[in-house]
């Protein structure tokens, strides 16, 4: 019998929370070591997923299906395919690094912090593995709370409450609409087939009239678009990032935002394929606006974290653009770009966190010449910056290349506009890098900054390994998603043939 790896991944952090609760709250180091150990075990448990994953098939793997509330058709149904595999690996890979990053950073309410972190981890895994809409929604909501607390309790005292509530309101607003849509879907399925179920894979098969798809797509889409975040729903992101503690920003950027894009890929598009085709222009244009807008606003930022936050808006615009091409390179590029963004932006937030620990400021103008006191830091910062602007040989390039290729097949104008985002990225990232790292040390407080410790180098080493690996040999990762992407595209293509007639129907009704 196969081990229920996915369940272990979901529940191990919860067991971990139990262990933490027993431990003495004053013993900070002990709490941190315990959390580190739990997250490392979690990572080790997730490794068999990677190695035993069969990349030839698009079917769900490591499936566990148990009845939960059979009267309502709710089941505990988890499984993964190529899309979720990469995101789960990213999550389990980043969490131990995040724990390491809290070593000196978090000094009060350590126990609660670690509990939040583990709860967050459980929630994130849950979102990526759920194949039952109800289960998915539970995890989606559960995850909000620890994140809200991370920002609201351990954030920057000045504006943390504002940022936390803004984050919460935005996301909650979207998910309530999604909840309504899930219920509508549930009853529609029940009416047409006679069985009431929340089973996602069964939902894929059911035919939904176009005008219903239209509204459902928007309801789900809004929840996910807020999470991504797509323009114009992005304004919670800079505040949340700026006020959150380092680790909060890292997880927010690296994993939480991916839930939005993942949601589009897993729920929105396959369930409402006709509507998805119908909305391609709208979402592509919003993605393009996000790319250019995020980049241009980044240029004006004075705060390191805000700058990186806006660059996230730009990068995730690329992901969305890729997914909405419904082409092989576009979708694969979108997925690989999700991972890339997780690695690069996660690393950037860690970098900012490290200088924040030393200087207690994030203003770009406060820095300058850090290359002299902190040479190792400067090298790592440079690699990550270059990865973020998509230098060939590092990961960002692979994603951007595939996305632009896919976009180009569909619409040349979109591709051209998106390509300008690449130039802007070089402008603002290099500008930031220059102001922080190059030049003479003008501020006396920067003169004797300590270079990175071994612990800090150990956090970056694995990140950089993968940044280079994806850049040099992306096939390792592309192969895993190939079958799933083909399957996804086949589903979308089937819908496209019927799309024309149905959009006529819809327009007829609208008149």
């Amino acid at each position: 019998m196969q081990l229920p790896i996915l369940s272990i991944l979901i529940f191990l952090p919860i067991v971990g929370i139990g262990i933490l609760l027993i431990l003495d709250r004053k013993h900070h180091k002990g709490l941190k070591y315990a959390t580190l150990a739990i997250s490392l075990v979690e990572f080790l448990v997730s490794l068999p997923l990677w190695f035993n994953f069969n990349s030839q098939t698009a079917a769900m793997q490591f499936v566990e299906h148990r009845e939960w509330l059979p009267t309502y058709g709710i089941s505990y149904y988890v499984g993964i395919d190529g899309f979720s595999l990469l995101l789960i690996m990213l999550t389990t890979f980043l969490t131990p690094l995040c724990v390491l990053a809290t070593w000196d950073d978090i000094q009060h309410r350590v126990k609660e912090f670690m509990v939040c972190l583990l709860a967050l981890m459980s929630g994130m895994i849950g979102v990526f593995v759920s194949l039952d809409l109800f289960l998915f929604y539970v995890f989606w909501e559960v995850m909000l709370i620890p994140m809200y607390l991370l920002i609201g309790v351990w954030g920057n005292p000045a504006r943390r409450v504002y940022a936390a509530i803004k984050f919460f309101l935005f996301t909650m607003f979207g998910s309530l609409l999604m909840l309504v849509a899930i219920l509508v879907l549930y009853f529609h399925y029940g009416k047409t087939t006679g069985t009431y179920t929340f089973d996602l894979l069964k939902m894929y098969g059911v035919s939904i009239p176009f005008n219903m798809q239209f509204w459902m797509f928007l309801a789900f889409g809004l929840a996910f678009a807020i999470k991504v975040p797509m323009f114009p729903f992005h304004t919670w992101l800079p505040d949340a990032h700026t006020e959150a503690p380092t680790v909060g920003s890292v997880i927010l950027a690296a994993v939480l935002l991916k839930m939005g894009t993942y949601g589009f890929l897993r729920f929105n598009m396959p369930m409402f394929p006709e509507a998805a085709h119908y909305f391609v222009p709208l979402f592509s244009i919003l993605a393009l606006i996000g790319i250019v807008y995020g980049a241009l606003v980044s240029m004006m930022q004075k705060d390191l974290k805000r700058l990186i936050a806006f660059s996230s808006v730009s990068h995730l615009g690329f992901v969305m653009l890729g997914l909405f091409t419904f082409t092989m390179p576009g979708v694969q590029g979108g997925i690989i770009q999700m991972i890339n963004h997780g690695l690069s932006t996660g690393a950037l937030f860690l970098i900012v966190g490290m200088i924040y620990e030393r200087r207690h400021t994030r203003m770009i103008s406060e820095f300058g010449g850090l290359c002299t006191p902190m040479p190792v830091f400067a090298i790592i910062f440079m690699i990550v910056t270059l990865s973020s602007i998509g230098l060939p040989g590092l990961n960002g390039f692979v994603g951007e290349f595939l996305i632009l290729l896919g976009t180009f097949q569909v619409n040349k104008l979109y591709a051209t506009i998106a390509a300008t985002g690449v130039i802007f990225a070089a402008c603002y990232m290099l500008w930031m890098f220059q102001r922080v790292v190059f030049g003479k040390v003008t501020n006396d407080k920067n003169k004797d900054l300590k270079d990175l410790s071994w612990r800090e180098i150990a956090i970056f080493a694995p990140l950089i390994l993968f940044i280079v690996w994806i850049g040099v040999y992306p096939s390792t990762f592309l192969d895993k998603t190939k079958a799933s992407t083909e399957n996804f595209l086949a589903m979308m293509a089937k819908a496209k043939s019927t799309q024309v007639s149905q959009s006529h129907v819809f327009k007829g009704e609208a008149q």
Binding site: I165, T235, Q332
Partner: protein
């Protein structure tokens, strides 16, 4: 498999040795100058040997191609591989040789610099990128190497990162060339989608066999040329190159001769049949490169910084090469003229920069008027070498530049419209003038007062902030003062002699190279009119320079000062820098960024904040009892879940 095939092994070594040198130095030996130097030199010498061996062994053979799969997605298969044919072999030799010479030269130039190890790591990265670019078999791989070349230049131009202008120049080089690279990239995307392959050999043969739609060739040709404009500093993207002299002088030598800027022209020769298949593309290239030639030659007339003069001369010679290639393509000629000029130019331009480096190192200034008055000509060998190089640049027989310029002018003469030829000749005249302006000032210095009227020249020796600061870093570190006029170290002299002999020999290798590149050498019908015209232009340029700067009672103001408006125009570099700065500040920052940021704060956020602020009030209230947060949220969750439950009940 790898070891049984010496050619493949050679290619792999060429790529991986500099790569491992870069990694080793960066990670382990950065603080150990001697060890870093040794690693880097080993990693530069072996590719040098490989390059020359390949050159002689494989020169006449059919192209050798290796391909390995790299990135496979549905319709894109991107192979990684090597293509060894005459076009790449010649460039391979040039790059390997010049980067080796520069590494040797830098032993002396950079001695004592605190960043010595880092410098050699960056040089290795540069070699890696450029060598990969030269021998790559596919255009995407070439593009990747192309970007890495940009990265290496960024690092080396901004090498003295403590200087604001240096890091600024590095950034400018990166961003401006990237601007062009987007075009290049889109060109590649066009090709891969509408043609399906990025393999260089396939693309070339398809263009020759007419199996590609003409619109595709024109569109992607023009887009790819955008990349060339960026890298090879063609108008209007030339603005980064003159600033790039902020880097150490050996880096400028490398940048201006065999690597960064040569990459663009090399790309044009690499897919020359493809470019040549579209007359529209070639006409555009011809126009842009001619404009570049005239623009940069006129700016060089007025420059007072020795490196700046050579920088603009590089821009103009690159324009000249592109003109040669475009003209040859339009008149169904061959790539030889442009390629040959690239080869000879690599030798004499590297020589010019390395010689200037000796002077800069010695006198601690970049201003050649100051060098002259302080006795620059007493450094006999560098002075002789720089004169040889300037003669070659001006195109005087029997130096290498003469032969290659002659070929390009011949190609221009084949065009129906003779205006191009006239402009080319005018460029040659200006080139001769500004290069001998430097030489005559250095050879026959006048009293410092004589130069006081030169605009831009800083008259007082003490006031050498900009010159000395250029590598004050290096100087402070090893206490190289003015009273300590030690001789120039042999590691710096040796590369000069090698390059000078190349400058002398290369002119006579024309037939050999042509045979190698084209398979057959065509005896050239001497066009005597052209010969006389070209030599006449060069000589009159030199003569004018003599009248203005060389002879005993020269006025030392330059003929251009009779046209003050023009002079200002040239000194201000045709206001191109101003234009870009204005464009950036006014439009990108002033309008878009500012307006968007405002929009983000006020408009998009405004509506949200109305909601949010009202909640913040309750949030503040709650923050008195901070622990209540958890309960509050749990309550919220319970309400939500209860809502779900109610919905479910109602559904039944």
């Amino acid at each position: 498999m790898v070891f049984s095939d010496p050619i493949l092994l050679g290619c792999l070594l060429t790529v991986f040795l500099p790569l491992s040198a870069f990694a080793l130095i960066m990670i382990f030996t950065r603080d150990n100058p001697k060890l870093s130097l040794a690693i880097s030199l080993v990693a530069a010498t072996i590719p040098l040997i490989i390059a020359w061996t390949f050159f002689f062994k494989l020169g006449g053979r059919a192209p050798i191609i290796y391909n390995f799969d790299w990135m496979v997605s549905d319709l894109v298969k991107v192979p990684f591989g090597f293509l060894l044919d005459p076009t790449s072999l010649v460039m391979f030799v040039i790059v390997a040789t010049i980067s080796w010479l520069v590494q040797v030269y830098s032993i002396g130039y950079m001695a004592g610099d605190p960043g010595f190890g880092r410098y050699y790591a960056d040089l290795s990265l540069f070699a890696l990128a450029m060598l990969t670019l030269v021998i790559s078999s596919g255009l995407l791989q070439l593009y990747i190497a192309w970007e890495l070349v940009g990265l290496a230049s960024y690092l080396l131009i901004g090498f003295w990162y403590e200087k604001f202008s240096a890091s600024e120049a590095g950034k400018k080089a990166f961003v401006v060339t990237r601007f062009g690279d987007i075009g290049f990239f889109m060109g590649l995307v066009f090709l891969v989608i509408f043609y399906g392959s990025l393999d260089i050999a396939t693309v070339n043969s398809a263009a020759v066999a007419n199996s590609m739609p003409p619109w595709l060739i024109t569109t992607s040709g023009l887009l790819i040329f955008c990349g060339v404009m960026g890298k090879s500093a063609q108008f209007p993207l030339h603005v980064w190159l003159p600033d790039a002299m902020e880097g150490p002088t050996p880096v400028s030598a490398l940048l201006h001769s065999a690597t960064m800027v040569a990459a663009g022209v090399f790309l044009m020769t690499r897919i020359f049949p493809f470019f040549a298949a579209s007359a529209t593309t070639m006409t555009v290239i011809l126009a842009i490169s001619t404009l570049t030639l005239i623009l940069s030659s006129t700016i060089a007339l007025a420059a007072t910084d020795i490196k700046q003069v050579w920088a603009y001369s590089t821009v103009s010679q690159l324009g000249f090469m592109a003109m040669g290639l475009a003209a040859a393509a339009l008149a169904s000629g061959t790539l030889f003229a442009g390629y040959y000029h690239l080869t000879t130019h690599a030798a004499f331009k590297a020589l010019l920069f390395l010689c200037s480096g000796v002077f800069i190192h010695h006198f601690g200034t970049n201003d050649f008027f100051t060098m002259a008055t302080q006795g620059g000509r007493k450094l006999v060998i560098p002075m002789a070498c720089i004169t040889i190089a300037a003669l070659a640049l001006a195109g005087i027989f029997p130096f290498a530049g003469f032969f290659s310029k002659e070929l390009i002018l011949t190609a221009l003469a084949h065009l129906d419209n003779k205006l191009w030829l006239v402009l080319g000749l005018f460029g040659a005249f200006l080139t001769a003038y500004y290069s001998f302006r430097v030489i005559f000032v250095m050879l026959f210095p006048k009293s410092p007062e004589a130069y006081s009227k030169v605009p831009g020249h800083i008259a007082h020796v003490e006031d050498e902030a900009h010159g000395h600061g250029a590598h004050g870093h290096a100087d402070d570190a090893h206490g190289h003062g003015h009273d300590e006029h030690h001789g120039v170290p042999w590691v710096m002299i040796f590369p000069l002699l090698v390059l000078a002999s190349f400058t002398l020999i290369l002119g006579f290798c024309q037939d050999y190279l042509e045979k190698l590149l084209l398979g057959a050498s065509h005896p050239h019908a001497m066009n005597y009119f052209l010969l006389v015209a070209a030599v006449g232009c060069a000589l009159s340029g030199i003569a004018l320079a003599w009248l203005d700067w060389g002879r005993k009672d020269a006025k030392c103001v330059g003929f251009i000062s009779r046209f003050p408006a023009l002079q200002t125009f040239f000194i201000q570099k045709w206001y191109m820098d101003h234009f870009w700065r204005w464009f950036l500040n006014r439009f990108i920052y002033g309008i878009f960024s500012k307006w968007f940021t405002y929009n983000d704060r006020r408009v998009v956020d405004g509506g949200v904040d109305a909601v949010a602020f009202s909640t913040v009030g309750s949030g503040r209230l709650l923050s008195f009892i901070q622990t209540a947060f958890l309960q509050y949220n749990l309550l919220f969750m319970v309400v939500v879940l209860a809502g779900v439950g109610i919905y479910l009940m109602m559904g039944r």
